[in-house]
Amino acid sequence: MSVRPTSRSIFDTLSRSSPSNHICRQCRRTLTPQQQRYASSALSSNGQSPQRTIAQRHAIPALFQSGKTQRTLVSVARRDKEEVDDAGVTGARTWEGLPIIGHGGDWKDMPETVQDDYQSWHGTALPTLSHEQLTAFLFQAIVECHTCSELGIAETLAAGSHARSLLSPDLFETATIAISPKHTIQGVQHPNLDADTTEVLQEKLQSPVESENTQTQAENTQIYLPSPEQQSFLDARIKPNNPMTFTILKRFSFLIGRRIPDPLLTTLTQKPTNTYRHLVTALNEHLAPKPANVIEKLAMNQTLANQSNVLVFPRRETPVDKEKEVGRWKIIEEELKKRGLPVLGRTKVQE
């Protein structure tokens, strides 16, 4: 009884259960690592029968074949250096003129790519607004809001306006904020206010959103700084129940380009004796750059540093500093210079 040669073997049984993802040596030579990986995973995932022919197994999907090197196994085996001349490609004999892939020594030398130009979405630290600037913006907000309310167009303003300055600087100069005996803002008095202003105002109120970033505008716009007499509003109390307060604060937050944090407002309005000065001070503190390290925190609160027996250093104490404190450094320096030796660091050895 002749035994028919069959391709079945015990190995077939084994390999059927767990298909091999082995790539032969010749395929490894021709394929790039990425192609190899794909081929390997494709083989293992497909669960193909190991009974495929050698040629089938080595058949590279067309997708992963490079345009120039479409070779089969046979042609690869018989490749010779002198014979290969596909589309003008010649084998290199030396390194000269070859492009370098990757960096030429230091990874930092690699050219910048599109990904390197990263812009954070979180936002960089915004420049702070000083006490004077905040006072000026608040003055502007109060004057504008009260002027609009007296002219009867407060509702439009309450909805929000994108105009930087609703009134002309002359009007700001001559405006005075009236404070009631109960220390609240009653209104604004303009000695020379004419009918044209109303129309101009209404026009400005309806102006569309400006494309420029409001925050940068807050710094760039020329603001009117109120005189000390005009700054009396700072001692006025914030009345949370008054709808005008909402309008003022909304306008104010637009002008400064930032939102007033809710916790800040809540804490301020809880105490009835809090004034607009408290608001400005609290906001200034909130907007101030937070100290990043211990030294900056100590610079803000100097109780510890003010103690007569305490010494705070701005940076790490180095051995040179220790020598300087004791007065030895100048001698060390002099002696080293006398001998022509480097004071700090090392000299380059000339070869």
Partner: protein, 140 residues
Amino acid sequence: MPVQAIKSVATSRNGVGAFILQCRRLDFHYCDWAGSSRGMNKLLTSSLLPQQVTTKYPATEFRISSRPNKHPILKAYYINGNTKAICVRNLEPAQIIQKAELLLQNSGIKNKKIRGKNVVSQNESVRGIWSPLHGGLKNV
């Protein structure tokens, strides 16, 4: 021949007249980056240090400097020339103050076991040490 005299030096008795605190300098080293220095950083920026430590020990020089990429430490320098350091990694401000007080109240000498009940004094005994040749001699 007349009496001659030997030159020597009078020894100090700290506390009999003036008391001199033995800890002359205490360094606080912190790190801005290390997480183990959180407690130390908190202590340095709070009001605990000036309230509880620096005002109570005016005779000690306090120094605060950063020691980057290291655990926070307290280093004390004493009048006898010794140095004692305690690593205060991962400690809370109150615990660090405890360690600081430990160092400030230390004398600087190496820790030694107190064996027995030895009386430590520079004065001789009041009743004298027993001698077989004095008092109560028996004539045989």
